[in-house]
Amino acid sequence: MLVPLSWLKEYVDINVDVDVLEEKLFSCGFEVEEKHEVGSDISGVVTGLVVSCEEIPGTHLHLCMVDTGANGTLQICCGADNVRAGGRYPVALEGATVYATAKDHKTVEGVMTIRAGKLRGYDSFGMLCSGTELGLTEDLYPGAGYNGLLELPEDTEPGMDVKPLLGLDDWIFDVSITANRPDCQSIFGLAREVSAALGTELKAPALDYTVNGNAVSFAVNVEAPDLCPRFTAHYVSDVVIKESPAWMKRRLALVGCQAISNIVDITNYVLKEMGQPMHAYDFSFLEGSEINVRRAGENEKIVTLDEKEITLNPNNLVICDKYRPVGLAGIMGGLNSEIKDDTKAVMFESAKFMRDNIRKSSRALGQSSDSSARFAKGVDEYTTVAAMKRALHLVGELGCGKVSETHFDVNTGNSIEPSPLSVSIKKVNGVLGIEVPEDEIVKIMDRLGFEPELSGDDLRLKIPAYREDMETYQDVAEEVIRMYGYEHIVPTFIPTAQVTSGGYDLKQKTELKIKNALCAQGAYEGVHYSFFSPSDLDLIRLPEDAEERKAIKLLNPITIDLSLMRTVLAPQMITSIARNQKNGILEGRIFEIGNRFIAKELPLKAYPDERPTLCIGIFGEKEDFFGLKGLCDTVADALDISFEYAVSEKTFLHPFRTADIICGGEKIGYLGQLKYEIARELDMRTDAYIAEMDLRSLEKYFGKERVFIPLPKYPVEKRDFSFVMDKDITCGEVEKTILEACDMITDIELFDIYEGIQLPPNKKSMAFSCVFTPKDEKLTDQMMEGYVNVILKALDEKLGIVLRF
């Protein structure tokens, strides 16, 4: 919220400089996001009196002698058409900074420093300035809009700094107001806080007005009190539409609001000053002498002030005359009842509309305004009523109409009187943990306008109706401490709390263990969004009826690309690998542990299953299927379990390099090489391999107890075998057969594969190293021979495998 210091000062004495004021506001809960002096770029400009002014022949220039008071009388060349002897203008002295304008003399192009120079051979020691060159507009200072010199009042003494004179020494604060303080969404509202913080007097805006106009016959009905708990209206006749006075235009301009005409400006002024949106209807266009506040009909239409036709529905509140909508409640007036230059009578509206309804309508209809933004934050009925009085006062002050007796106040019975709140001082201090002295508390409450009365521990307050946030002792505690100062809070370390044991639970510990194990294998942990794109499902070639396509949809996604809760982690991993390759990173290992979201039914009626899932992606010349398989086994090792792998198929993986990961007979994931077509589609330069594992399925193995196996009493024996077999026999089959044949073998490892000219074309050789671990007796040569024979026999019988010689 923009707050001009000069305007704020109208309601409260400010006896500190701007930095202290900022600090005070900050510490009582109002952060000044930015503050700047209105004329921060302007310096070295004084008032000047042109003593003599002569035309320079053959040019549009005048050679002037300018009295600048203590700065002397300076010779200045001037090209403006309104320069004349006896005129008083701002003079930029040598070294002054002002705005440089474009050829149109209107567009500001930057800040320039004034130097002495020569124009057409004539020395010039400064510059006479236009309003634009000082950053002023017509609204900010009368005459500043003129495309020539800014004329100063005739009684202006030469040599004075122009900044105070032109309001350039004013400050604008941009103050951030928290959502619990809608009452501070106005200059006066903030002034109340400043008064409390500084301990200086608060001067309320005048609310008195004189009834001098004639009443009319009119009716106001509120048919939707649930959306409009208070609606006040007042009739003003004999309206004369003209410009607002300079002071009002200037204030509106300082807060970024364009002056339009006296009646409209009054509504905007009251909004900024009091925080109550108001509206003025041209009375002659309110047909049937009545206003009805009701929900819109289905497909009912209104053309708003910005000349847009809006199609409404019963969720939208409208202000209607007898026949049609004349305003979109709280958001924007209707074009049909707009204030025009020839408007003769107006009906002012000051109402409270429910913030949620205004917010929703404003969003749904795509229509917003200062008013709707204000209503969405919440207005209070106290201010609704006060604002109308203020508007009527301003009508009188500006002399723009006659205030009648015709007044309506339709309400649902909410009081705008202060309500009592009684709290225990002990409880207030109990929240804070310090003992704020009673008299301090009373003083603070008094300054905030709560009219405190203390009796023992009981603090009785009167809560003004605009402080809707004040309900409990906790709210009082906050008021106390933000004024008393948070620096009084001393650190304690939950001295009263019971000892608790903390830390990770098993699931968290195990996940971390898996992550660390993967990191130790050269993999980096990544994090991807929990939502993804429908095109991600297409990327991995999922058929139309795939389970993964039954994804939970976001109703209001930012883009379609972030519109589905992910059901599979692979697509984002694949995209990340492609992105790394685009960046020239051609090898790497990435993993992610994140949730997949599986709905029990769509649309959602119950919490969906959020399944923690591990996805691993590796890529690069050095990587292959078995590297990825190694990472999967790393996970198994971390859990002290083992995985089996079975040939499988996936729509996005190599048809002959894909496997299911099986644990305890249950399929828990997959791994494989990314299809070349997809890699090419994403401009990948090296092959990629993807694995995914459902960690939920593995949870039952988390925390498996490690049991020490005593060392064998006798040394192990190691035997290497080289076998010849048909090419399509797998390593897994051989290992399984060997292990089944001999239970003395505790470890088996393939160390060589050979295919080639030394073997028949349909054969290959595989060499295994087997470790035999003795149980109760030393392994003798004889025993070993026996085991080997059993193994060889089994391999021969089951798979037709023979030893290679």
Partner: protein, 347 residues
């Protein structure tokens, strides 16, 4: 051999031969071979001398044996010394031949590392875990009730505007804050409650400084007599551990519907130590988290008697801490699995 003179001559000649021949030998292997030709019990010049004992007259035997042993010992000694010297030389040559360019690139096994978020999360979890906080992970998909209503943020509350929410249906949404987990814990656990709840949260905000998904960590303490001072004390400990022992905290008023009073917590800038720099935008302070005393309405909504118990809560942005700590300038970098980014942060 009949007299000792002859023997003396013979032994002197052997001795001389050895001394001469030994000089010719260049390596330890040569010594070994040569030593064999001398010392071999059958054919060796010295080794074979003992075999001749039989031919020696009885009275000379003792002297003969003594002299042979002498030369034997002498030869052993000469050979040993020569061998030792040559071995030394050989080792020197070997070392010299194995000279390397120590500036060649190092061989490393590249280990990966945890995501910066995980690293921060672990640090936070370790700090709060040691203070007796349990770690509770809520769900990413929540109901409107737990995310808002139960946190004193009813349907028409203006605070709902503070967070743009992704909805999945009339009832379900993507949680906008980890505070959503608070209520589940308070409904299911009796005080004393001390939890932190880290996790992903979602807001409809996507620009240079906002990501639609980010992570928070909620902290909650509910017990008898918990006050704002405890909040300050607890957070003091936490920020010192994360940002350094000389870090100071500052509380200032703020607003969250579920806490009252609510505060923003600033820490003294750990880069300039309060002098003012770019990181702290010249203020000397950096905003790191929001906190407050749990609103009694929230406690009561969970069936906790606010006359007996009170609570404090805080919420930290994990990415914010990670970005501050490691100087990461763009939050989006954390969600792109860019190995150039991930490989830099190993804390």
């Amino acid at each position: 051999m009949t007299d000792l003179n002859e023997l003396s001559q013979k032994l002197a000649s052997i001795r001389q031969d050895i001394e001469t021949e030994l000089k010719e030998i260049a390596d330890s292997k040569g010594i070994y071979e040569y030593r064999k030709t001398i010392m071999d019990g059958k054919a060796g010049k010295i080794g074979s001398l003992m075999r001749e004992m039989g031919k020696i007259p009885k009275d000379l035997k003792a002297e003969y044996g003594k002299r042979v042993n002498e030369i034997k010992n002498w030869a052993q000694d000469v050979f040993d010394r020569a061998d030792e010297k040559l071995k030394e030389q050989e080792m020197e040559r070997r070392y010299a031949s194995e000279k390397i360019d120590i500036t060649l690139p190092a061989k490393k096994f590249k280990k990966g590392n945890l995501h910066p978020n995980t690293q921060v999360r672990m640090q936070l979890a370790d700090i709060f875990g040691s203070m007796g906080f349990q770690i509770y992970e809520g769900t990413e998909i929540e109901t409107d009730y737990y995310n808002f209503t139960a946190l004193n943020t009813p349907q028409d509350h203006p605070a709902r505007d503070m967070q743009d929410t992704f909805y999945l249906g009339p009832e379900f949404l993507l949680r906008t804050q980890t505070s959503a987990g608070q209520v589940h814990v308070m409904e299911n656990q009796k005080p004393p409650i001390k939890i932190i709840s880290p996790g992903k949260v979602f807001r409809s905000d996507d620009d240079a400084t906002h990501s639609p998904m980010f992570s928070q960590m909620e902290g909650l303490v509910v017990d008898k007599g918990i006050t704002l001072c405890d909040l300050k004390g607890m957070l003091d400990v936490f920020v010192k551990k994360i940002f350094g022992e000389d870090t100071k905290t500052r509380l200032r008023p703020s607003y969250f519907p579920f806490t009252e009073p609510s505060v923003e917590v600033d820490v003294s800038c750990f880069q300039c130590h309060g002098k003012g720099c770019r990181l702290c935008k010249g203020t000397g302070w950096i905003e790191v988290l929001g906190a407050g005393v749990v609103n009694k309405k929230v406690l009561e909504g969970c069936g906790i008697d606010s006359d007996i118990y009170s609570g404090i809560a805080f919420g930290i942005g994990i990415e914010r801490i990670a970005m501050l700590k490691y100087g990461i300038n763009n939050i989006k970098l954390l969600f792109e699995s860019d190995l150039r980014v991930l490989s830099q942060i190993d804390d």
